[in-house]
Amino acid sequence: MNNLAAVIPILIVTLSAIAAMLAEAFREPGERIPIGLGLIGLVGAILASAFLWDRQATAFGVVQADNFALFVNIVLCVVGILTILLSDGVIEREELPAGEYYALTLFGVAGMMLMGSATDLLVIFLALEVFSLSVYVLTGLRRSSAAGAEASFKYFLLGAFSSAFFLYGIAFTFAVTGSTRLAQVGPAIAAQAMNPSILLLLAVGLLMVGFAFKVSAVPFHMWTPDAYQGAPTVVTGFMSTAVKAAAFAAFVRVFLSAFEPLSTSWIPLLWWIALATMILGAVVGVVQSNVKRMLAYSSIAHAGYILVGLIAGGQNGKAAVLFYLATYAVTNLGAFGVVAVLATRDRAHDELADFTGLWHRRPMLAGLMTVFLLSLGGFPPTAGFIAKWYVFSAAVQADEYALAIVGVLTSVVSVFYYLRIVVMMYMTDKPAEAPATPRLHPAATTAFALAALVVFYLGVLPTGLLDLAGDSVITIF
C-alpha cells in the first residue's frame, strides 16, 4: 500500500483526465463538466502532494515522492488549474474540441508530474513521451490552421529526434553502469569520475541534448518560436511553463544527483549553452513584431537564467531553480493568458500593433499584462525580481560572476522588448477603429486575479516559498 502512496497525486490527475475524456461523450453542449473534473483532479493532486510532504514515499523503486518532486507537482498542478481557467471561454470561442483539449492537458500534467518524480532514466523517458505526445497534439489542435499544423509537425519531428538522443543517452548510461536507476547509476559514475570513459561522456552529452531540447536551450531552441507562435495561445502558455518546469525538474534531478560527480565534464559545456541561451533569447527577441514570438524568445532567455541556477548547483542553486520555475510559470502563463483572451474568432490579435492603445480600451487587461511583463523583466516588487535575484545570488556564491553579469545585462536587453509591448499599450494613441475585444470570462478573471496576486505576493513576501524551495532540495541530494 505504501508503494502506491508516491503515485497518488499522479494517479488522481490521470483519473480526472480519463473522466474528462469520458464525460465529453455524454456532455450536452454548453455544459462544463470536463473543466470541473479537471479542476477537482488538480486540486486533489495538490492536496495529496501536500499530504505526502516530508514523508519520502517511494513507489516501485522508480517513483519517489520526495519534497522536490512534490514541489514540482504542486507547481504543475497550479499551472494546470490556471490553464484550465484561462481556457474556459477561449476554447468555446475558437471552437476547439473541448473534451480532447482538457483531457490532453490533464494527461500532459500527469506525465510531467511523473517526470519530476521519476528516479529511473527509463521512467523519465516514459514520462517525457507521455507529456510530449499530449503537447504535440495540443499544438496542432487547430486542425484548419496551417500555422498550427506546421508548428505541431516541426515540434513533433524535432522532438522525436531529441527523444532518440535521450534514449541513446540512457542506453549508453546503461552500458557503462549496468543500470538505469539513478540510485545505482550515481555510485557507478562516482567510481569512475576521475577517469570517465568516452562512452560515459557520450551518454552525458546525449542526455544533455535531450533535456536542452525540452527546455529550449540554444542551440536546441529552433522549434520554440514556431511552435509557440503556431499553437493556440492557451496551449502556448501551458507548454512554455509546464513543459519547462517538468523538464528542468528532471534535468536537475539527473544532473545534480547521479551525474554530479562528472560535473567537471558537463559544466563547461552547459556554461556555454547557458550563456548562448541568455544572449540569444534576449537579443533576438528585440526584433520580433509578433507578441507570441517575442514571448517565445523571452522564454528562451528565461531558460538561460534557470540554467545558471543549475550550473551554480548546491542547495541554493537547486532551490533557486525551483523558485524560478514556480514564479516564471505563474507569470508567463498570465502573460500568454492576456494574449489568449484578446483573440477573436477570426484573428489571433497577437501582433505588436494589436496592442495599440489597449490601455484605453481594456485598462484592466493592460494593467495585468504590465504586471506580468514587469515580473518577466525582473522589476521589484514582483516575483520575477526575487527569482532573478535568487538565481544570480546562487551564481555569485558559486563564483560564476561572468554568468551573473551576462544574466543581469541580458535581462536589461529583454526589458527593452517587454517595454515595447507596454509602449504599445500605453504610449500610442487610440487606434481609429478599435477591434471589438470579447468580454472576459469569469473563470479567466479568476485565473488572472490569482496569477497577479501570486506575482505580487511572492514579490513582497517570498519567504514562505523560498523556505519551501530550500527544504525541497535538502531531502534528495
Binding site: L374, F379, P380, Y401, L409, Y426, T463
Partner: protein, 534 residues
Amino acid sequence: MSFPLLTSIVFLPLAGAVLLLLVGGRDGERDDLVRRLALGVSLAVFLLTLVLWAGFDPASAEYQFQEDHEWIPRFGIAYHLGVDGISLFLVVLTGFLTPLALLGSWASVKTKVAAFSFFMLALESAMLGVFVSIDLFLFYVFWDAMLIPMYFLIGVWGYDRRVYAAVKFILYTMAGSVLMLVAILALAYLHSEATGAYSFDLEALFALTIAPETQVWLFLAFAVAFAIKVPLFPFHTWLPDAHVEAPTAGSVILAGVLLKMGTYGLLRFAFPLFPEAAAIFAPYLAGLAVIGIVYGALVAMVQPDLKKLVAYSSVSHLGFVVLGICAMNPQGVEGAIYQMLNHGVSTGALFLIVGMLSERRHTRLIAEFGGLKKVMPRLSAAFLVITLSSIALPGLNGFVGEFLILMGAFLWSPRFAAVAASGVILSAVYMLWMFQRVNYGPVTNEKNQHLADLSARELWVLVPTIVMAVVMGVLPGPFLAPMAPSVDRVIERVDRGRSAVVSERLGQTPLPASPASKDTEETGSDPVSPEPES
C-alpha cells in the same frame, strides 16, 4: 513598540495611490476629486516628514526612528529603516516637492488624471524608501521599483519624443543598476564567507574588511550605477532627453529628487563601503565632476530651449555635489548635501516656472519670449529670485552649498576647486543671459502681449520654493547642524577604512591624511593609499 513613523511616511503615498485607482472614475468625471485627494495625501506625507524632522535628534550620528524586522531571514535580509543627518533632509525634500509638483500640474495634466496621480504617489513611496533603507536589498528594491512610475510619467504624459526618452531613461538606469545588484550579491556573499551568515545590512557590511582588489570592482559597479543616476559626465546623455520630454511634474521630481539618489548613493554606500577603492577613484570622479561642471554650463549656454537649458544646468550643479563628496571633508560633504537640497528647491522651481510658461504658450523656446516682465510681473519676480538662487547669489540658498563645496574642494585639491569655481561664473552667464532674453526688453512677440500672470494656484506653487530659497540662504544653521554628526561619521569611517587597509598592506602605522599631501591627484596617483613598494 513605538509608532512606525518611517513606514507610514514610505507607504502612505502608495496607499493613497491605490485608493486613487479605486476612486478614479472611468471617463475622468471625478478628476477634480482625484487631484484633491492626491494633493491631500502628499501634503499629509509632507507633514509627517516635518514631524520626523521635529523629532530628529540633531546631536546624534546614529540612525534614528529605526525599524528592523526580519524579511527574508534565510538570506539575512531585513526590513530595516532609519534616517540620519544625511537622509533626513532628502526625505523632507521629497515630501516638500511632491505636493508642489502635483499642484503645478493641476491644469496641464488633463488625461488619465487618476493614473497620473497614482504614478506620482507610487514614485514618492519608492523615492522615500530609497532614502530610508539601511538594508541594501531593500534599498535596491526601492531603487529599481522607482523606475517604473517614472517611465510611465515620461512615456504617457510627456511631450513629442516621450517614448524614446522614457525607454532611454529606463534602460540607461537599469543597465547601471543591475551591475550594482551583482555587487550587492557579492557583498552579501563576502559577509557569509567572513561570518558564516548572509547579511545585506549596511552596518554589518561596514564591518567587513574587503581586499582592495575586490573593492575596486565592487566600487566600480556601485559608482557606475550612481554616476548614471547623478548623472556624471559622460553618463549624462539620458538626462536632457528625459527632462525635456517629461511633463512638468516629472521634470520636477526627476531633477529635484531622482538625481540626488545618485549622489546620495555615492555618499551612503560607495564611499564608506569601499574606502580604499574610493581613495583610488576619487580624483577621477572629481575630474569627471569638474568636466561636468564646465561642460554642462557651456552646453546650457547655447540651448535655445528653456527646459534643455535647465537640464544641462543640472549636470553642472550635480557636478558640484560630486566634487564635494569626493573631497570627503566636513565642508565638502556638508556642502554637497546642502547643494542637493538647494538644487532640489531651485531647479524644481525652475522647471515649474518653465512648465507655467509652456502651458501658456505651448513652446519653450527662449526666442519666443521676451519682455515678460511687463506682462507677467509676478512671474518675473519669482523667476528672478529662483534664477539668483540657482546661480548662488549670497543670501540665497545656492551660495551656502557652493561655497562649502568649493571650500572643501580647495582643502582637498586646489586645482579642482579652481576649475570648479569657473562654473560659478559660467552659471551666472547662462542663467542671467537666459533670464534677460525671456524677461527684459520690449515684448517683441505678439502672442506674449496678453499672457495671464500667475494665478493663485501658481502662487501657491512658487511661494514655498522662494521662501525656502531665502530661508536656506539666510539660516543654514538648522539644516547643517543635524547633518554634521552623520557626515563626520561617514568621513571617519572612510578615513579609518583607508588607513586600516594601508597599514595592513604596508605593515606600518596609518599615514596622516593631511590636506597638503593631496596635491598630486590629477596625475592619477593617490596620496592616501600609495601602492606598496614591494
